[in-house]
């Protein structure tokens, strides 16, 4: 269910990882993802696993909580694995009718599963240790050099902040409206695709009306709190690179170097 998603949720804390500058974390995660897709052998994954484990441990977030982030995409992972397992050509290990499993297939499937697994762990760790505001601040700062070529960095960041803030509210609202229309005998389950799409109207219209009303209210409330765009705005938590960030950088660079050397040497 939608409710189980830990991806995008913040887990308050004061660990080393929490305190890293969001810009460091965003850039590190980009490098981390690049590394994930460059790993060519299991030694590399070993290094990656060790690195990820160290990060999770130092974030002081319960291991199980981070792993939970994988749950919503489990079906996707299994599907990808099976797809690779059965549809890769190569040395046949086992076959039954048209189904065959190859050595290459096993290898590829394992790689895909590991890649997705580490991808979700890494990004979950980013959102769990970085408050939404810090994250959007980081993005705003990273994008600000591109303002000159017309990238609306502040506006994009503000939109993300508000979107993150309103996702739970609107999910709850949707649930309420579905219940109200169900009670009025709305039928969401039977009929062909056109009928089902039509059945969504009693949910979508109230949802839009409500979202517009909320947006209106929020705009007035923001104006009352003296909002006037990104000009001259200060921050409660100014982004500051510290020595911890330098260590963070070094750490990820070491990971990248290790993985690339293992690719070449092994």
């Amino acid at each position: 269910m939608l409710k189980d998603i830990t991806l995008g949720q913040y887990f308050p804390g004061n660990s080393l990882i929490h305190r890293l500058d969001p810009r460091t974390k965003i850039l590190c995660i980009i490098l981390y993802i690049t590394v994930i897709f460059c790993v060519k052998n299991f030694w590399g994954y070993g290094v990656l696993a060790a690195f990820t484990a160290i990060c999770i441990i130092s974030s002081k977030i319960p291991f199980g909580y981070v792993i939970k982030g994988v749950k919503p995409i489990l079906i996707f992972v299994i599907f990808t694995a099976l797809f690779n397992l059965f549809l890769t050509n190569g040395r046949v290990l086992w076959s039954w009718g048209f189904l065959k499993i190859t050595y290459e297939g096993v290898r590829l499937a394992a790689f895909m599963v590991l890649r997705l697994f580490f991808l979700v762990l890494g990004t979950s760790l980013l959102t769990l240790t970085t408050s939404p505001i810090a994250l959007t601040d980081g993005i705003e700062k990273l994008l600000s050099p591109f303002k000159k070529i017309g990238v609306p960095a502040h506006e994009l960041a503000m939109m993300m902040t508000i979107a993150l803030r309103f996702v739970p509210t609107l999910l709850e609202e949707t649930e309420k409206i579905i219940k109200a229309q169900t009670a009025r005998g709305a039928d969401f389950e039977s009929g062909n695709i056109i009928n089902r799409a039509k059945a969504m109207i009693p949910i979508l219209i109230p949802l839009f009306v409500s979202a517009f009303r909320r947006a209106d209210d929020l705009a007035v409330a923001m104006e009352c709190r003296c909002y006037r765009g990104g000009e001259n705005r200060t921050r409660l938590k100014e982004l500051k690179m510290t020595t911890a960030d330098i260590w963070g950088w070094l750490f990820v660079t070491v990971l990248a170097v290790l993985v690339f050397t293992s690719n070449i040497l092994l």
């Binding site: 009670a183 009025r184 005998g185």
Partner: protein, 285 residues
């Protein structure tokens, strides 16, 4: 009419969506009763009414309406829900059609009724909640707050349910709007003879309308009985963080001071009558 035996319901724990669970609910409501449900936020009262309305499936236990079991193997839940009207909190958020008429007709249409019957029901329901015919042609989004609320209630009433459940139908309304809605609800209950379940935070409203009260606390039924029986126990209600009608408190204080006011007085008119009685008795002597 509706019977709940050993009903349990737990929400998925954790996460921001966690809501109150209910445990071991045993409750039987008779046809034509007006039942008030009170309890503070998180006491499980809104879970309870959603279970009654067949919008949540109990984890264990059985709920039946006129002998039909909710979520039973042989039960068509959609058809069974036609018999239960559920007015959610801030029901105006469910309005979506182009005109008020079409919106009120949404329920009856889903029931598969004939054009003529739908028309009859829409007009009937609109009249019951006090909406004029000229309003029926307007867009529901043009109406005033109070009118929207009544249009939404009409949309449920038009299904002519045997059981009408209302979750805080007066929330956010001013005194005038509140009295109007409550008056219409009382009217409906009397004229249609249906069973009404009303959830409210206002003890005064519950005191003036209900003939049976259920008090929820920590997911369990803490008390149930007639208003007299419930408001007698003011101390226990206060313990649960609930208010008592002001007049009941005044009477309690007067009893403590020695005035012979009987228990179970909780409305202005009843208190006035009692006090006058006491005075007359005094004058005679």
């Amino acid at each position: 009419m509706i019977k709940l035996s050993d009903v349990n319901y737990t929400y998925m724990s954790g996460g921001p969506f966690e809501k109150a669970a209910v445990k071991d609910i045993n409750l039987e409501l008779k046809t034509g009763q007006f039942v008030g449900i009170i309890g503070h936020t998180g006491s499980g009262k809104s879970t309870l009414i959603q279970l009654m309305a067949g919008l949540l499936k109990p984890d264990s236990g059985k709920i039946s309406i006129d002998g039909q079991t909710l979520y039973g193997k042989a039960t068509n839940m959609r058809k069974l829900r036609f018999q239960i009207g559920f007015v959610m909190q801030y029901p105006e958020y469910q309005l979506f059609e182009e005109t008020v008429f079409q919106d009120i007709a949404f329920g009856p249409k889903n029931m598969g009724l004939s054009e003529e019957e739908i028309k009859r029901r829409v007009h009937f329901a609109a009249k019951l909640v006090g909406l004029d015919d000229e309003i029926l042609g307007k867009s529901p989004f043009e109406l005033s707050g109070g009118q929207k609320r009544r249009a939404a209630i009409a949309g449920v009433v038009a299904m002519e349910p045997k059981l009408l459940i209302l979750d805080e139908p007066t929330a956010g309304l001013d005194p005038g709007g509140r009295d109007e809605i409550l008056c219409k609800i009382r009217d409906m209950h009397r004229r249609l003879g249906i069973t009404v379940v009303l959830v409210s935070h206002s003890m005064e409203d519950i005191a003036s309308l209900a003939d049976k009260i259920v008090v929820m606390n920590h997911g369990e039924i803490a008390m149930k009985g007639t208003p007299d029986e419930i408001f007698k126990n003011a101390a226990r209600l206060k313990e649960m963080g609930l208010a008592v009608p002001q007049i009941a408190e005044v009477c309690m204080k007067l009893r403590e001071a020695g005035l012979p006011i009987p228990e179970g007085i909780y409305t202005v008119s009843a208190a006035k009558a009692e006090l006058e009685k006491i005075l007359k008795a005094k004058e005679k002597r």
